[in-house]
Amino acid sequence: MKKIKKIKIKLNGKIKSINQDSNLSLMLKNLKIPLNKVAIELNEEIIDKKKINKIKLNKNDKIEIVHFIGGG
């Protein structure tokens, strides 16, 4: 069996291991993130949610997914 290579990324401050050929869209889908309710940053740059399919993930990428919560 062919072994799928894993890479490490940082998601919301926590290290996560993902498949090397994974992309951002796939990862968000797996995490069941409702795209219409969040904003996403990749290495401190905001991602246009419409272009998410094209974004590949690389080793040591830093991803932040934020949403609205209660606040004053």
Binding site: I33, K37, E44, I46, I65, F68, I69, G71, G72
Partner: protein, 260 residues
């Protein structure tokens, strides 16, 4: 019929019926928060931008309880201590769903939570240039308020007292001076403790008030939400009605003529 003209709160060309803005933090639960908002009659609520909880996706989402199509979300930068953090937060907020009306709050001290006005001014300028409609939390300082106005702020939001302190308006004179010098919406933000504090703010000529802790942490949040709603309406009506002059000595209410 009483002749109080119907007057809306207008912020960045958007009309609102209610002059009470409420925060969505510090509630025991989402349903409690949603019910308090409803009772307060608020049409604008402040919200915070935070990381999605990846490990617990069953956690209730604010948007599931407070519909952003019915209530205007006002993304806030609470918790930011410099311009860079605040700008990053609001750019992300805009990306969530096109929010342009935002509340800028850059804090300068972790204990008293006073705003860092230098960082606030810098951020206001950048945000205005990027097309944001910025409501700005600031100190009750008329000079700083003027500078914010010149930097492109869409609303001036001086504190009544430190955030969450419940002390009420500490510096009425400054608020009145700011009121006199600006035509921008003037909204008291932070430090109110009870409904009458909101009435005082409105009687000073403010356009609105923003309340979170005083409602969320009241022993009976629903009743307090309603009390604040009524207090803001009463204060506005009182302001519009034109108060009497203050005099030192007594002035009898009954005619002195015809006394037996």
């Amino acid at each position: 019929m009483v002749n109080l003209k119907k007057d809306n709160l207008i912020i960045a060309n958007k009309k609102f019926n209610s002059r009470l803005i409420v925060g969505t933090g510090k509630y025991k639960s989402m349903p409690e928060c949603a019910k308090a908002i409803k009772l307060s009659g608020a049409e604008i609520v402040t919200v915070a931008v935070r990381r999605v909880n990846i490990s617990d996706k069953n956690k209730p989402l604010l948007m599931d309880y407070v519909d952003p199509k019915k209530i205007t979300y006002l993304p806030n930068t609470a918790g930011c201590f410099n311009s860079k953090e605040a700008l990053r937060t609001l750019r992300l907020a805009r990306e969530i769903g096109g929010w342009k009306l935002v509340k800028l709050e850059v804090l300068g001290d972790k204990k008293n939570l006073f705003p860092d006005m230098i960082e606030t001014l810098k951020s206001t300028e950048v945000l205005a240039k990027e097309g944001f409609k910025v409501m700005v939390y600031c100190n009750d300082d008329p000079l700083m308020a003027k500078r914010l106005e010149n930097s492109g702020a869409d609303a001036i939001m001086p504190l009544a007292a430190p955030i969450g302190s419940g002390l009420g308006i500490q510096n009425k004179i400054n608020i009145q001076i700011i009121r006199k010098q600006t035509k921008l919406p003037l909204i008291i933000d932070a430090g109110l403790g009870q409904a009458s504090d909101a009435t005082i703010a409105m009687e000073l000529g403010c356009d609105g008030v923003l309340v979170n802790t005083a409602i969320a942490k009241a022993k009976k949040p629903f009743e307090m939400a309603l009390a604040f709603k009524n207090a803001v309406i009463a204060g506005r009506q009182s302001f519009q009605s034109g108060r009497i002059d203050k005099i030192l000595m007594g002035n009898p209410s009954s005619p002195s003529k015809g006394i037996i």
